[in-house]
């Protein structure tokens, strides 16, 4: 409990927050005014507005390496032994039934038919990292990438595993990584949301909005869905028949009336906050479309992301928008590769080859383009990229026939790049079949701890008082970041 950060907003409990903000804090930012009936609604001084903006920029615990985070979520669970975790033994065993303990959608098993990896591996870069043929473009960037090949999670079932990867808990109701980042650091751009989620055109992931929920924190910290085509935010567009000038007129008159109402209630700052939030929303109607407007980008840039090519157009657009959001100070951006169910995402239960060639093919060039573009613009150093799914896949087949693999939370690969991560290395290993992590196993919590750490926050100190506890993203027990890669 006493592990509270010094001189920062984020370590304060709600009660301290209330207590202190009562002493008079004038924030200029206004992305989301927070008051809680019963907690915050009376933080007032006689003379001046006292806005308590939960998204105002806050000091980190220690100097941050990463200002923004991009989480490339490969929903469904990519196969590690077909992508980055090279298992030469596995090719030879193809088709043989061997003793191996697995646990997945199909339950716990003691043996299974090996599916040999379907792609060849080669070493790339000066560091000689192994990458399969699935990623011909990304393989050029391995010297910037740290592969964590011994990831483990607590559930091999999509629903709970997604919650675990996003919120650190198997049960729903807790804030997501992006919420914690915004809670801890605030946002430097008040004209855009601090936690953006961009979904696959196939649909959302299982459990939908639970994956970007702010849980027990206020809604100000929840992820905002942003679209790459059409109006980027929900309800952002003026209704048909409303012009910007008409809206301006309405807002002017609204403000006049609201100010008249406020004049006799000067000490009630929620009223001022709401007046300002209408202006902010109006500004966002320009700033949000501008952020997703790719018309100013050069053809070379568009090509770098694969925009205009049928397979890579969608993910490429979302990656390029992501770069634009990073440039505009958005704190946390999550991109989903894959949506809905079955082969619409990386969940290759049937035909592994078809599935992974499809999803890797859609994303390889855009991700490589994003890395290159960020690097060329000098943004990669301050932008942390995470790649991975909610779990990996088993070395053995799920069904009597076919190449599909079942889920595997005992061992899988994720990678990180930029944002102070030491690239060109792999940490941890799985066994020779890729069935389970053996050397330096890292839990999802270690990954989360690493992200917070790189953003300048101590994962064991960043807490939010709720339900009688100082809740932390990484849980009660102290969790180490993955020191080997930072």
């Amino acid at each position: 409990m006493t592990e509270l950060p010094r001189k920062t907003f984020c370590g304060r409990t709600r009660r301290e927050f209330l207590w202190e903000s009562g002493a008079g804090f004038t924030s200029l930012g206004l992305t989301g005014m927070l008051s809680n009936s019963g907690f915050f609604d009376s933080n007032v001084r006689a003379d001046e507005p006292t806005f308590v903006n939960p998204l105002a920029p806050k000091e980190p615990h220690h100097p941050a390496k990463a200002k923004s985070v991009i989480f490339l979520f490969m929903y469904g669970g990519p196969s590690h032994m077909d992508t980055f975790d090279y298992k030469p033994e596995l090719y030879k065993l193809d088709g043989q039934t061997i003793a191996v303990k697995t646990k997945g959608r199909g339950g716990s098993k003691d043996k299974g038919r090996v599916v040999g990896p379907k792609w060849n591996f080669k070493q790339y870069g000066q560091s000689g990292q192994w990458v399969s043929e699935l990623f011909p473009h990304l393989s050029n960037h391995v010297d910037d990438i740290a592969f964590i090949k011994s990831m483990t999670a607590d559930s091999p079932i999509h629903g709970s595993a997604m919650l675990m990867m996003n919120s650190g808990k198997l049960l729903s109701g807790s804030p997501c990584l992006g919420s914690w980042a915004n809670y801890g650091l605030g946002s430097v751009n008040e004209n855009l949301p601090g936690f953006v989620v961009m979904l696959d055109p196939k649909g959302g992931p299982i459990s939908g909005a639970k994956n970007w929920s702010s849980g027990y924190m206020p809604a100000s910290y929840a992820g905002t869905i942003m679209k790459s085509q059409g109006p980027p935010l929900i309800d952002l567009k003026f209704p048909d028949g409303t012009s910007p000038e008409m809206r301006r007129l309405l807002l002017d008159k609204l403000r006049e009336s609201n100010e008249e109402h406020h004049a006799t209630r000067k000490d009630m700052h929620d009223l001022a906050a709401r007046i300002s939030s209408y202006e902010l929303a109006f500004k966002m109607q320009t700033s949000a479309p501008e952020a997703v407007d790719l018309s100013q980008e050069t053809q070379a840039t568009l090509d770098m992301y694969g925009i205009g090519k049928q397979r890579t157009d969608d993910f490429g657009r979302r990656c390029l928008i992501t770069r634009r959001l990073v440039e505009r100070g958005v704190r946390f951006i999550q991109l989903y590769s894959g949506g809905a169910h079955n082969d619409d995402n990386w969940d290759a239960h049937g035909d592994l080859k078809k599935n992974h060639e499809y999803h890797a093919g859609n994303t390889d060039l855009p991700i490589a383009g994003l890395m290159q573009d960020l690097k060329e613009r000098g943004l990669l150093d301050s932008t942390l990229i995470i790649w991975g799914g909610e779990f990996g896949r088993q070395p053995t087949a799920e069904y009597a026939e076919g190449t599909g693999r079942d889920h595997n939370s005992y061992g899988f690969t994720m990678w990180m790049a930029g944002g102070g991560i030491r690239g060109g290395q792999s940490v941890g290993t799985t066994d020779e079949l890729g069935g389970a992590a053996v050397e330096n196993p890292f839990h999802v919590k270690n990954l989360h701890a690493t992200v917070l750490w790189q953003m300048g926050m101590d994962p064991n100190r960043l807490s939010y008082f709720y339900s009688g506890l100082e809740q932390k993203l990484v849980g009660v027990e102290p969790i180490e970041p993955i020191r080997q890669i930072i």
Binding site: M1, T2, T13, R15, E20, S21, G22, A23, F25, G32, M33, L34, S35, N36, S37, G38, F39, D41, S42, N43, A46, K58, E59, S155, I157, H158, S160, L170, S172, G173, G203, G204, G208, A209, Y216, P218, A219, I225, K227, D235, P239, L249, L250, S257, N258, E260, R265, M268, D270, L271, A273, R274, I275, S277, A281, G339, H341, S467, G468, L469
Partner: protein
């Protein structure tokens, strides 16, 4: 400038001067000192850990000699107290606390002052016996309307604050309507009250509103927040919970019927164990089924304990105001709740049949009367008998079929395929093998069987059921909370801080139930329970005054916020129990007080002295809740459908929001426009798809108990209210209503009416002028038709702060 430092400077100055001022007046241990000890010290020096031989959870342990030989506290002498030395130390290696933020200068000052003043110690306020305190004397007797005011005024006079004057009648009538029903009054209702000059006009209004069925809808929703009510399971499929809306209706009905709170709780905790339980008693136990439930858990045993934890958390915080959940893995760090208390509580729940998606383990049939129950049972028996006859006939014909075909080569297949195979074969070849007559008989019998297998229609509820009356499975303390890591065996018993003997549990043969939950309910609703009444009257207070007497209404423990008016809280709790736990009586008492009727105006002096309104010198302005906003939009345009109760409704959700689901549209039904115009409390609560307008105005998180809603202000709300389809539709409807009433041309009358409907007051001259300017500019400059211009004007009015904030 660094905001945080700025912040701290203010904070430091404020509290330091506060502490200095307290030199004469003794500090209140519970209010000022204990929170600091709990926050800063108790993790290592508390009930679960006595590092260095010192702990600040009881007086004896705090004053004991430490392992170093020096007492932590020397009464009257802060300089000699080693505790002070340690907390002010500049040496990080010796300074307390060893990790995290040190005590602020102001906090150190408070501890010092407290020691200097004699270090008086009292038991944590919430664990003290509940004794009805005397009513304090006051000077300004004219202000006092009832006992509540005596307590409030005594506090104000002590702080030399003046209560705000009573608000005007229009403010009061709006406050009363919103507060009791969640809806605005109509123009006529306002006029009625304004014109009623009788002395008891206010009382009559409160009485009338308490009798309106909309009261139960509004206050029932508050209880639904506490019990984390939702209608789906969360997780991958987020499937609907069968019949769960009946629980919502039960809650609404209970409030409307003024069901005593002790009975309300007993029904939810153990209604099924009552002799011949009524439908409501069964429905109430749906309480146990409201939480999140993973139908495909990674670890079944762990998932089972997560389910218990969810219940212990909800019962603990929701009914008892304590965080027993913190003692799942180890002794509570702050409160005197050892880990054994947690597992003793778990024994009461151990025998519950696990949740499932439906079926007899979680569903019960409901009957209006014994008569209808008997009729239903007779119908089931009848069906059974008929079924026996039909089955015999089918068996006879199958026999013939198999005898004829027995020598055919596919015999093996037939064996393997079992009945299904046989049925298929008969369907295919029955005519040929059995002949026309017999085959016709077979077909008729099969069809009949299908019909008979359907259950006779009956209402069902989602309920709790137990595994049987045999002794439930053993419960062990789980070391570190890990299933399988057994510690001591525990038996049913109550948390030891309550100091009550373990119950005698009587199994309930009629319901095949252990009777343990009845024992739990009896204890929770006992007049002697320290906390049940305190926690609930505090919630009711919060519902009227915007915040509880204890602000942390789910946590009355050491890390909660101490009550601003402890005596008032105890007085209310005692009075509540002594008068049969009647909730409407409590509402009325609070609302008839002068304290409730004050205006929300700011007084400069009071704001300077008590900015947080801790002393209740005014009524706080409040933003309407998500439901109140949506319902008000419908109410002012005259479309609100006040139909009560029944299965949930589905407002239209934009496709772009649905796109966030893995199967867009899954689990979301379609309701007619009339249905969609019903009150928000009837909207289907799908955990992974909360209705966007409600979500943006801080609908509570559905997965854990919500003690108080947030009240955020964010641009998304403006988008919804200005660009959203719902808001624009309501504005158009509003314009239509106005035109219908006063015609299409008279702008003055239109604007007058709009203000009257929306804000329950006459439009001011400046507002009228502004609105007319707006209308003409919309028509002339922006070429809008008069109708469209009026719609825009209506949209504007619906977005006024005055519409969304209540004085």
């Amino acid at each position: 400038m660094n905001f945080c430092n700025f912040f701290y400077l203010f904070f430091w100055l404020g509290l330091a001067s506060f502490a200095a001022a307290q030199d004469e007046a003794p500090l209140d241990f519970a209010r000022h000192v204990q929170p600091i000890l709990a926050m800063k010290c108790a993790r290592c020096h508390g009930p679960s850990s006595t590092s260095g031989g010192i702990a600040f959870d009881t007086r004896d342990r705090a004053f004991a000699e430490t392992e170093s030989g020096r007492p932590a506290i020397v009464v009257g002498d802060p300089e000699a107290s080693s505790m002070i030395e340690r907390i002010v130390s500049h040496d990080e290696s010796t300074r307390m606390p060893p990790e995290g933020k040190p005590l602020t200068a102001a906090e150190v000052e408070i501890v010092k002052t407290w020691i200097r003043q004699g270090a008086n110690w009292s038991k944590h306020w919430a664990y003290r016996p509940l004794v009805k305190p005397p009513i304090p004397p006051v000077n300004q007797k004219a202000w006092v309307a009832n006992e509540v005011d005596q307590f409030i005024l005594a506090g104000l006079e002590e702080s030399q604050l003046t209560p705000n004057p009573i608000a005007d009648k229009r403010t009061l009538v709006r406050r009363a309507y919103y507060n009791l029903t969640g809806l605005p009054p109509t123009a006529a209702q306002v006029t009625d009250f304004e014109n009623d000059s009788s002395a008891d006009a206010w009382e009559k209004l409160v009485d009338r509103l308490l009798e309106s069925p909309q009261y139960g809808e509004h206050w029932g929703r508050k209880w639904l927040d506490v019990v984390r009510y939702a209608e789906t399971n969360s997780f991958e499929r987020d499937n609907p919970k069968p019949h769960v809306w009946r629980y919502r209706d039960y809650v609404i009905r209970s409030f409307n019927d003024d069901k005593p709170y002790d009975r309300f709780l007993t029904e939810q905790l153990a209604g099924d164990e009552a002799p011949s339980p009524t439908s409501d008693q069964l429905i109430a136990t749906g309480f146990y089924r409201l939480g999140v439930w993973d139908d495909e858990p990674a670890d079944r045993v762990l998932a089972m304990y997560e389910g218990y934890d969810d219940l212990i958390t909800t019962i603990g915080q929701g009914m008892l105001g304590l965080t027993f959940n913190c003692a799942r893995c180890h002794d509570h760090k702050i409160d005197p709740i050892p880990q054994t208390d947690y597992y003793q509580l778990l024994t009461f729940l151990r025998n519950i049949r696990p949740m499932s998606g439906g079926g007899p383990n979680v569903e019960a049939n409901l009957f209006a009367s014994e008569q209808s129950k008997r009729e239903y049972e007779a119908a089931v028996r009848d069906r059974q008998e008929q079924m026996d006859v039909v089955k015999k006939e089918i068996a006879r014909l199958e026999e013939i079929f198999t005898t004829v075909t027995t020598n055919e080569p596919n015999k093996e297949e037939q064996k393997k395929g079992g009945r299904n195979y046989l049925t298929q074969q008969i369907k295919k070849r029955g005519l040929e093998v059995l002949g026309e007559d017999e085959f016709a008989k077979y077909e008729a019998a099969s069809k009949m069987l299908g019909e008979l297998q359907k259950e006779p229609p009956v209402d069902k509820a989602l309920v709790v059921k137990e595994l049987g009356i045999e002794k439930p499975a053993d419960v062990f303390v789980l070391k570190r909370g890990t299933p399988g890591n057994h510690g001591a065996l525990v038996e049913p018993g109550f948390p030891h801080l309550f100091a009550v003997p373990a119950p005698t549990v009587q199994p309930v043969a009629e319901q095949n139930s252990s009777g343990r939950r009845t024992a739990l309910a009896n204890w929770i609703t006992s007049q002697d329970n320290l906390l049940t009444a305190r926690v609930f009257v505090n919630r009711v207070w919060q519902g009227h005054f915007g915040r509880g007497i204890v602000r942390s209404s789910n946590n009355f423990g050491g890390l909660g916020t101490p009550p601003t008016h402890p005596e008032l809280l105890d007085w209310l709790a005692s009075d509540f129990m002594a008068n049969g736990w009647k909730i409407k009586r409590l509402h009325k008492m609070l609302m008839l007080s002068s304290a409730y009727r004050m205006s929300s105006n700011g007084q400069e002096a009071a704001i300077a002295k008590d900015p947080a309104n801790d002393r209740f010198w005014r009524v706080d302005l409040r933003r309407l809740s998500a439901e109140e906003i949506r319902d008000s939009l419908l109410a002012v345009n005259g479309r609100l459908n006040l139909e009560l109760y029944g299965p949930s409704i589905y407002p239209t959700i934009a496709a772009e929001v649905m796109a966030g689901q893995s199967e867009p549209g899954r689990g979301w039904g379609k309701s007619s426009p009339t249905e969609q115009a019903r009150r928000s409390v009837y909207i289907h609560v799908k955990r992974s798809l909360i209705t966007p307008l409600l979500a943006s105005f801080d609908f509570p998180e559905t997965d854990t108990s919500c003690e108080a809603r947030f009240s955020t202000t964010q641009p998304g709300q403006s988008f919804a209210m200005l660009n959203g389809q719902f808001a624009n539709e309501q504005a158009a409807e509003f314009a239509k209503r106005i035109t219908n009433q006063v015609g299409p041309t008279n702008r003055d009358a239109q604007i007058q009416l709009a203000y009257q409907l929306c804000l329950n007051r006459a439009v001011r001259e400046s507002e009228l002028t502004r609105a007319k300017e707006f209308l003409s500019e919309m028509e002339q400059k922006h070429q809008l038709s008069p109708e469209r211009a009026l719609e825009q004007c209506c949209l504007l009015i619906l977005n006024l702060n005055e519409f969304v904030y209540l004085d």
